[in-house]
């Protein structure tokens, strides 16, 4: 038992590190994040382009589409090393992590050669048009209509929670093409140019003041049938391909204060005239959260060990997001408590505890709510039965709905 790379892994890590050292700077503790979204996009696109030119983009994709054909372990080593550097990768997370793999699985050879290299080099940003006002956890309840018209489809409806939709060039879209059959059987999947006439994008302001998400309205927007992914009525199977890649993509992008930051705060705040770090209740909280952080960290190491041996990881990693999101929320709230009355202040958003207090509710919902993730653990890991469903066998337009 050890934490060491194999010789091949070590060589790969050194190679990755050499490129990063030569082209980027390490993260520092006091990093200013005072750039506008437009500035961030410029920086992100430049970095992605540089990576693509040097064969460090989309490591696990095939070479002919702009990837490197790396092993899963090599991809993780790259992510670990890149994560140490001050480089923006967020705007590409959904496109490269979810849209790309879906295109690889379902697009025509010509389409793959046209779109994937542009995605890999950051020239085109992609988004995911899945959720709707009445289709979140129950995604298959979606109602955006696709109706055939010659060799085109006419799209009408509304998508929501579309991250980056306001700056995306392309998107992947799941629609209802047949409401007269059961909900999972009447779906059809497309990719779509976001500049198509009839697509209207409205940002959603979140509780933390940011606006990463959008509502996307489709009004008689036309998509050529050649941009359909999978057969008509097979959209659910395509969606599953996308979602299988989702947890890989969003699993590790949560940021926020953790144990080191909490300890630092507790050393610099007081309870009853003594440093908060000396308080037994504070220490107990630190112990509990440390056990969670440590447990997730070493769970990840177990997964990596399986990948390193060329094996398939066990189900352990299914717990990651559900543990981390709640911990982040509780820890941020507790950090504000340590500031006592001063914790009320919101003079600027650079306080990471306040920032996380306001952003963490989203982490517990995005990419699968806590409740859905517990269902997944119960059903897929523990083998417990699905809930009884009244919506699976009746025609979609006969399923009871809230509106």
């Amino acid at each position: 038992m050890d934490f060491n790379d194999t010789p091949q892994e070590a060589a790969f890590r050194a190679q990755a590190r050499a490129f990063l050292d030569a082209n980027a700077s390490l993260k520092t503790e006091t990093m200013a994040v005072q750039e506008t979204e437009a500035e961030l996009l410029v920086r992100a696109k430049a970095w992605q382009k540089l990576k693509a030119e040097n064969n460090w983009a989309c490591l696990n994709w095939p070479k002919e589409y702009g990837g490197r054909a790396s092993t899963p372990m090599e991809r993780i080593i790259w992510d670990q090393e890149e994560g140490l550097f001050d480089v923006p990768t967020g705007p590409f997370a959904i496109g490269l992590g979810m849209c790309g793999p879906t295109m690889i699985a379902y697009a025509s050879e010509e389409q793959k050669r046209e779109h994937l290299p542009l995605m890999a080099s950051g020239e085109h940003i992609w988004c995911q048009l899945f959720s709707e006002p009445s289709a979140g956890s129950d995604l298959a309840n979606l109602r955006t209509r696709a109706e055939p018209d010659g060799d085109e489809w006419i799209i009408n409806g509304q998508k929501i929670w579309t991250s980056g939709g306001h700056y995306a060039d392309w998107g992947i879209l799941v629609t209802r093409s047949d409401p007269d059959v059961p909900k999972h059987k009447g779906l059809t999947f497309f990719f779509v140019n976001m500049h198509t006439p009839g697509i209207e994008i409205k940002p959603i302001k979140q509780i933390n003041g940011a606006a990463n998400f959008n509502e996307i309205y489709f009004t008689d927007a036309r998509i050529p049938d050649s941009q359909r992914l999978g057969e008509v009525g097979e959209g659910w199977a395509v969606s599953i391909t996308t979602l299988m890649n989702e947890r890989l993509a969003v699993g590790n992008i949560m940021r926020g204060p953790d144990i080191p930051e909490l300890i630092k705060l507790a050393e610099n705040t007081e309870i009853d005239g003594k440093p908060a770090i000396a308080n037994a209740a504070v220490r107990e909280k630190i112990a509990d959260w440390y056990c969670q952080s440590s447990g997730l960290n070493f769970t990840n190491y177990r997964t990596l060990s399986a990948l390193s041996r060329g094996g398939v990881p066990g189900p352990e990693n299914s717990i990651t997001k559900v543990v981390r999101a709640s911990k982040q929320q509780d820890l941020a709230s507790f950090g504000l408590d340590l500031m006592d009355m001063g914790g009320i202040l919101n003079e600027n958003m650079d306080d990471e505890f306040l920032h996380t207090y306001l952003s963490s509710p989203g982490s517990r919902i995005a990419g699968g709510t806590d409740e859905i993730l517990r269902n997944i653990i119960a059903e897929r890991v523990l083998g417990l039965p699905q809930d009884i469903r009244i919506d699976k066998t009746v025609a979609f337009n006969e399923v009871p709905n809230s509106s």
Partner: protein
């Protein structure tokens, strides 16, 4: 990254599971719980024949010289089946403390006997309902004779010797006391977990030989408890897994409102939470196993982390297993309470959760461990 048990260690796990399925069914645990015997002597004999008691003892002292990773594997399996034997006292505590600080003569005398299962050892620390500290240990050694009272002592009823923490002229030191000697009185005591044996040991000027450096009693004890905490954490994780599996089986078979109760989200989410706690604890145990087998500088922090998270996981799984069984879970007849009892006993046997959380934070603040491990 090679943060996994080896193929050989997993083979040992398979063998252990096979042996324990045959020789330690839950009925055997219940027999000890309900009967008068201190432990399952037939099972203990089998364990000795399997060579498990020799696991960590070097070959020149009659052992088989495997490592602590192998002992972690065995601990998890013994914990899973609630094995009612003195294995933990004799291996995680007595053998471990001898390996840590005994002189060669003491090792020559005791280790071969422990390896062969001819002798059983234990560690006597507690003196009633208070955390042992330099201010409250009353057991005293003067002129090579020990006097005082230790309670509860695990397996004190059947052990051949106990390593005892006592006051002396040097401060506090460890002493090895043969329990058949003059002036030793043993009284079996009732406990929260009668599937294991606890005793009160009273010493009245009994012969006691120093073990380890005089005056080092507390520092050796702390190190010993750290090592034992990792091994017990594997037992706790084994017990937690068994509790979760029991809840899973029952809720799949039990119907209410026309369907298996395992199809209700209230039950599914409860079991998912048990799985989450168990998985975090298991991974922290791996960290402990790594630290133990490498004598790593991080061992104290790894031990406290494994201890806290395994204690909480076993207690959660054991209590929610009862809850998942409904009224039947509260009956003597169902086996849920065997895990519930063991969960509480193992949460206390090396000091309470409070003690270990406090240790965890102290170690965290003492070092750069935070940045190294997170």
């Amino acid at each position: 990254m090679n943060f996994e048990f080896s193929d050989d260690q997993n083979l040992l796990r398979d063998q252990a599971q096979g042996f324990l399925q045959r020789n330690c069914p839950i009925e055997a645990v219940r027999a000890v719980l309900e009967g008068d015997q201190a432990h399952d002597t037939k099972l203990w004999k089998g364990i000795v024949e399997m060579g498990w008691t020799a696991t960590t003892i070097p070959e020149n002292y009659g052992g088989i010289g495997l490592g602590h990773l192998e002992l972690c594997v065995l601990a998890e399996e013994l914990g899973r089946c609630l094995a009612p034997t003195p294995f933990s006292s004799s291996l995680y505590l007595a053998t471990e403390v001898l390996l840590m600080c005994a002189d060669d003569r003491q090792k020559q005398h005791w280790l071969p006997k422990l390896a062969e299962g001819v002798a059983i050892g234990t560690f006597a620390l507690a003196e009633g309902a208070k955390p042992p500290s330099k201010n409250n240990i009353e057991t005293r050694v003067q002129n090579g004779k020990i006097s005082g009272c230790k309670i509860p002592v695990p397996d004190g009823e059947v052990a051949d010797f106990a390593v005892v923490l006592a006051k002396d002229e040097a401060g506090h030191s460890l002493y090895l006391v043969e329990l058949k000697d003059q002036g030793v009185t043993r009284r079996t005591v009732k406990s929260v977990d009668p599937s294991r044996s606890y005793a009160e040991l009273s010493f009245a000027s009994s012969p006691a030989e120093p073990l380890g450096k005089l005056g080092d009693g507390f520092s050796i004890t702390d190190q010993l408890l750290n090592r034992a905490a990792i091994l017990f954490a594997f037992e706790q994780v084994g017990g937690a897994q068994a509790s979760l599996e029991m809840a899973r089986q029952y809720t799949l078979e039990r119907y209410a409102f026309g369907r298996p109760i395992a199809s209700f989200q209230a039950i599914k989410h409860k079991l998912a939470d048990m799985y989450i706690a168990l998985t975090l604890a298991h991974s922290n145990c791996y960290y402990g196993a790594w630290a133990l087998s490498n004598n790593a500088a991080e061992l104290p922090l790894a031990a406290a982390t494994a201890r806290v998270s395994a204690t909480e996981a076993f207690q959660l799984c054991a209590k929610e297993n009862i809850q998942s069984h409904g009224g039947m879970g509260f009956t003597w007849e169902f086996n849920c309470h065997l895990y519930y009892r063991r969960a509480k006993a193992t949460s206390l046997n090396l000091g309470s959760l409070n003690r270990w959380k406090e240790l965890l934070v102290s170690h965290l603040l003492d070092s750069n461990n935070v940045s190294k491990t997170l």
